[in-house]
Symmetry: C2
Subunit: 373 residues, 2 copies
């Protein structure tokens, strides 16, 4: 493997000159630069990452700190990770995946003092997250994905839950729904201060108030069974509900199953909209889910770019950005249909070639015929 020395010798210049050609830290004449470039090409020179890192005190490595979770990453988180990785890679940086237990602060401190990370992205941030303080003390620039309660002087990117909920509610209200139930994460999750659950809860209340309708909210465990249970509660509390807005990717499938079990069809009898969902997951349901698509990979990219800006100029202003999920209408939402209590919802008869779109349209048409308003 060729070193800078070899290049310098071949180009008949000093090592420092080669370095300057590479980094542009000082002006080098065109002629010399060409010579050096030629030598590098001939020797297939590649700078040694560790040596460069040691000398320059910049590793060009970014850390992605993900809590070593019980249930692994969802599709949204995965998209975030790959988005961040590509962005880092495009900028000539490396992204290391560091699973650190959320409350292993010593481990985190150790990681930070190894001086291997130029900066870090912190995933799954809690409203009150000690990791932030640890990283700051260690002098590691960071960007949060998500938000702590107090965001002063902190860069973050996060989903714009307010706007997302607002748009979702607007979609449903626009279709004519008045009785909308919001299925959130579990009570325990809410209690422990999980930001998205809290923020969407408040946003839902606000959005419903804005439309002058009463908000109904139900927590659900993150599972199909949880969704089913939540649905049962929902029907107890609001037998006349016509739409479900679900924050819970897992529960939503249980809700779908529960509706089918009651002989209710989607979207004719009940519309279902899923929050913060990836298209891949939305497409799995039948009918495909109308969903607020999470900007997973964009979040990753933006977070990395913001972090890099902090590294280039440490005077760079903090970056706080919220991205909304975008509404993608698929087959699971439509105008409210028959009055509730009508429970003759046998599945459509065989129509083997029916695509998602087709069935959506048929459903819509049928529902429209029956519309009460």
């Amino acid at each position: 493997m060729a070193t800078m020395h070899d290049v310098a010798r071949l180009a008949r210049v000093s090592v420092s000159t080669v370095s300057y050609v590479l980094t542009g830290a000082r002006p080098i004449s065109q002629a010399t630069r060409d010579k050096v470039r030629a030598a590098m090409a001939e020797l297939e020179y590649q700078p040694h990452a560790m040596a460069r890192g040691l000398a320059s005190r910049r590793s060009r490595i970014l850390g992605l700190l993900l809590p070593i979770d019980d249930r692994g990453l969802g599709a949204t988180e995965t998209a975030f990770v790959t988005g961040a990785a590509s962005a880092a890679s495009a900028a000539g940086y490396h992204l290391v995946l560091s699973p650190v237990d959320a409350d292993d602060l010593d481990g985190l401190r150790r990681l930070a003092s190894q001086r291997m990370l130029d900066g870090a992205l912190l995933m799954e941030v809690q409203l009150d997250d000690d990791r932030v303080a640890v990283l700051r003390e260690a002098g590691v620039p960071l960007v949060l994905i998500g938000r702590t309660g107090d965001t002063t002087d902190l860069s973050y990117v996060d989903i714009d839950f307010d706007r997302t909920v607002h748009d979702a509610v607007a979609h449903l209200v626009g279709l004519g729904h008045r009785r909308i139930v919001y299925v959130n994460h579990s009570a325990a999750t809410i209690a422990e201060g999980y930001g998205p659950a809290l923020r969407t809860r408040d946003a839902f209340a606000a959005a419903m108030a804005e439309h002058g309708v009463e908000p109904l909210m139900i927590p659900a465990e993150d599972s199909a069974a949880g969704g089913r249970a939540a649905l049962a509660t929902a029907f107890d509390r609001a037998p006349d509900l016509t739409a479900v807005l679900a924050m819970n990717e897992r529960a939503v499938f249980g809700i779908l199953g529960g509706l089918a079990g009651r002989g209710l069809t989607v979207p004719d009898d009940v519309s279902v909209v899923s929050m913060v969902t990836s298209p891949q997951v939305a497409e799995l349901a039948t009918p495909a889910l109308t969903a607020m698509t999470s900007p997973g990979s964009a979040l990753g990219r933006i977070a990395v770019e913001a972090l890099l800006r902090h590294l280039e100029l440490d005077s760079a202003p903090i970056h706080q950005e919220l991205l909304p999920c975008t509404l993608e209408v698929r087959g699971s939402s439509g105008p409210p249909g028959r009055p509730t209590g009508d429970t003759t919802g046998a599945a459509d008869a065989a129509d083997p070639e029916a695509s998602g779109t087709t069935s959506k349209n048929t459903a819509r048409r049928r529902a429209a015929t029956r519309r009460r308003a």
Copy 2:
């Protein structure tokens, strides 16, 4: 930040002694070791990763080379990634995520010559994968996840597709099914030599032959629509089919939808078993899918451990290991029921509290009553 020098001074020993305490490369007396340890603790010393990497020529960084895919990672791949990350982390290594376009061999070469990676894990290996040669030339030890066609001298971990298919078929045949259709990945995917598609295809033919029944195989695009289309073809070719074995996590949901659309219930009319699937995804379906659960995170762990063994001793024997997916019976498989053509499959009447298990059992019981054999 304290350096080794500081520690040495405080402990009144030489720097090299401190180093030996740390690495154990040479014997150090208990007394000295204690002094040094105390000094390190007092100064909160942490070795500087880059310096150590430069001097020792070992970065303690492993690369995870993932193709910069169109559709992102599935649940299985994600589990693999996190499994690998934790294993690396537990061994004191770091895992960098390097998205490299599968045919950007120059980029790969560049990455490898930066000497930043002690070793690499190669994901989504094709039967004939040039990346292997590039990495070998660059002298980067590697472990494949998946297999190339020729695996001489190559370490890999992969799913034991033979056994997985075999077990799945045995499960269905054991329940009494004879007419089983195998839904594979798309024809294009098969044509381009995607290992899992080819291997499962052959394994399915073999397993069916073993039971003396005729194999029927149908390719499907990786989407719900693809699944629906495949199902239609399947019914054309084998109107009497009673079970579907699907290799395609996306298509399987289309198949489920398609069956419901025809008024067929699962598993009473048709059993569905999904191959290489994560529990999380299997639970999304209603009824929950009987599936061959992929050993995603175990694969990641094992791959890392094998790679580390190569790094410690470069004479370490190559590691080739196949892990089967394990059968997890959920609600979508049962004994074959009514004769095909019976199409009165209205969904079960409202039973809001029905859990996956309960409905599975009821289904079983009902189906058993009707069994023909």
